[in-house]
Point group: C2
Chain length 395, copies 2
């Protein structure tokens, strides 16, 4: 006899990105592979002050167990900021604090998905959302997507013909992996359509506040009259990932279920970390801090796009993100990103081949580049090496 694992374990495999990241952790590698925010922008000094203050003023509460839903003053601030920036109408009771927004994805799978259910998502979509949801055994239907978001006619066909659709998962702002943003019109058309069905929509928005130009567009949740849009976000990109604070903003009918799930999953998120973020917002200027991040990332995006414009051979196309951390490159069909990566690694440059962002696989000629986590000089050098490697293929 041997140990039998649950059936779901058959579909869980080590993430390809994770394996690549291991190779690329060597100092000399110029890595566009990860999705890390720039650590030089973390508010280390401010947090030193804040951490002492929280322990001094609320030490015993900060180190105790706390309510599952989270620290109320933080939930109030989150609701207020969301309403201001994303035009929602949330209050503290609509917010559940999670361990990063990854936990919101896991909980969403747990809440909505039985084995064999269908999940609709953009094609491509966020790799770690695929992993989180896969644990609950769904099948993914990739909805064709253009530069303005999900293609409504395609979505309409799928909704009208497929049975067992339990969840729609989208990232309308500076999508991971493509860096694309849905247009205002597309958001309206999408909401008009999906409100005819009773299907929950996860609007995953970890990057929305990091907009480099123009105005933040209204969130899907702000246009929703059905109460079925669940907004998830995180402080990982605007503050730091190390505190592991994200959230779910949703209608009470969902939040009460998510709270039950969180009780069983980990009881509560560190209230001390929540108090620190709330106190930071009281003492320091959070919006100014975000502006600082935007300024740095915008410059890095500019350099990367400029370098790609300058060096990429004809037949290679790439996105021009207006915010966020990533852009997306499409190679001529005959060049396989995984082979290109092998060549690039010899020259100490790395990226993530696009295949793993398609839940059903099969797209070999794309890859994702991250620009948030590297200096301008290194971006210049890295893209130079990348384009040289591409040119060795017959373009």
């Amino acid at each position: 006899m041997t140990i039998t694992f649950a059936k779901r374990m058959d579909s869980l495999r080590a993430s390809e990105i994770r394996e690549i990241l291991k190779i690329t952790q060597r100092e000399e590698v110029l890595s566009f592979a990860g999705g890390l925010p720039a650590p030089e922008l973390f508010p280390v000094e401010e947090l030193k002050e804040i951490s002492v203050r929280v322990l001094e003023e609320m030490g015993k509460e900060a180190l105790q167990y706390s309510t599952t839903e989270g620290y109320k003053p933080l939930r109030e601030k989150i609701a207020e900021r969301m309403n201001r920036k994303f035009k929602t109408t949330a209050c503290a009771d609509n917010i559940l604090i999670t361990c990063g927004s990854q936990q919101a994805l896991d909980f969403s799978g747990k809440l909505f998905l039985d084995e064999g259910d269908l999940v609709l998502c953009e094609s491509p979509t966020y790799l770690a959302a695929i992993s989180a949801l896969k644990a609950y055994g769904p099948r993914f239907v990739e909805v064709p997507t253009d530069d303005k978001g999900m293609i409504i006619e395609e979505l309409e066909k799928i909704l009208a013909t497929q049975k067992g659709i339990k969840l729609i998962y989208v990232i309308p702002d500076f999508q991971n992996p493509t860096g694309k943003t849905w247009s205002l019109e597309r958001r309206r058309d999408f909401m008009k359509l999906v409100q005819q069905y009773d299907i929950p929509v996860i609007e995953d928005n970890p990057y929305g506040e990091l907009r480099f130009e123009g105005e933040i567009l209204p969130s899907l949740q702000s246009m929703d009259r059905s109460g079925n849009v669940i907004f998830t976000s995180t402080f990982s990109k605007t503050f730091c990932p190390g505190l592991r604070i994200g959230w779910i903003a949703a209608n009470a009918k969902f939040i009460e279920k998510y709270i039950l799930i969180k009780q069983g999953a980990d009881l509560c998120t560190s209230i001390r970390s929540q108090m620190e973020i709330a106190t930071y917002m009281d003492v320091f200027d959070f919006e100014a801090h975000i502006e600082k991040i935007i300024t740095v990332y915008r410059k890095r995006r500019d350099i990367m796009v400029e370098m790609l414009d300058k060096t990429m051979p004809q037949g290679v196309t790439f996105t021009h993100p207006q915010g966020g951390l990533f852009l997306w490159v499409e190679l001529p069909k005959h060049i396989k990103a995984m082979e290109l990566l092998q060549d690039c690694l010899k020259n100490n440059v790395a990226f993530v081949p696009g295949d793993s962002f398609f839940p059903n696989g099969g797209v070999k000629n794309t890859f994702r580049l991250n620009y948030s986590n590297m200096s301008e000089e290194k971006i210049i050098e890295g893209i130079q090496r990348l384009s040289e490697a591409i040119k060795k293929f017959r373009v």
Copy 2:
């Protein structure tokens, strides 16, 4: 149409304890209901120093994403401490850091359980383990338990006759809810028996280091030659719950699967919190801190047992825990703990009726008392009121 939740949601209900705790949060209630450690023992001052030090020395790493398995120096220290105290032979690679040991329970359900599988557990057992595992749809088989642990003959019968047993869940040290500890002989007999089957055993040990008298007994994992015993624990009771740091110690064949699950569930646990605990252990005397907790809890246990001895009418029995946070009271069969609680609440005293600790329900005349979270004066007053309420029933 309405939203369809996953089938598993049918079995998830708000925890009874949670609802009771809400009532008992009023200042005037003497509550033996919770399971909270004493906040006056939290190392608040030390953590002020440590938090600044960690941010000063490792700020950027502390606030960044980190590896899923956890901070290596902490995993090394955990392995060393376990080996010293619980006679295990773990190394850092056997350890996965989790968000409290509750997360270890959730992950164990995810790893091993398909719908309809059987979980064997002590009768009664830890309420929140029931909730965590229930999300994966198993049936529970309660194994009869006496003062020395699971009754081996009963376990043997179940193992020999029942199909689909996928997990055995036990708490051999100062069990929640009963406060009982398995004898050395029972541990040996248990391991001798279960090693004939290929079934993973979760040895949940959050309280083991809080032993008030005698020597810590060897863990089940230390006696295991099959590699199937998974040990889980936490810093919530020995340090503080607010950092949300627990761990799983297991054979590599399991740890690699748990890591995959954690990747999908929340990517990683706060590395800053992990660095803080590791640094605390370097700078301060952790064992002395635990001794301090033991001294206080031992006194509280003594007072509670003394008061129960003094005030309880005949026919009421209770356990004498040698460590941990809880003791367990058995009433004469005709007194229902839930009715007693209603009476007690009128006199501002609270506890948790035992029924919810039996996964299949049906035991009405027991309840759990917590002594870690209340001053000696309040324990005296609370038990006085409790016994008066009991005496109003015809004992």
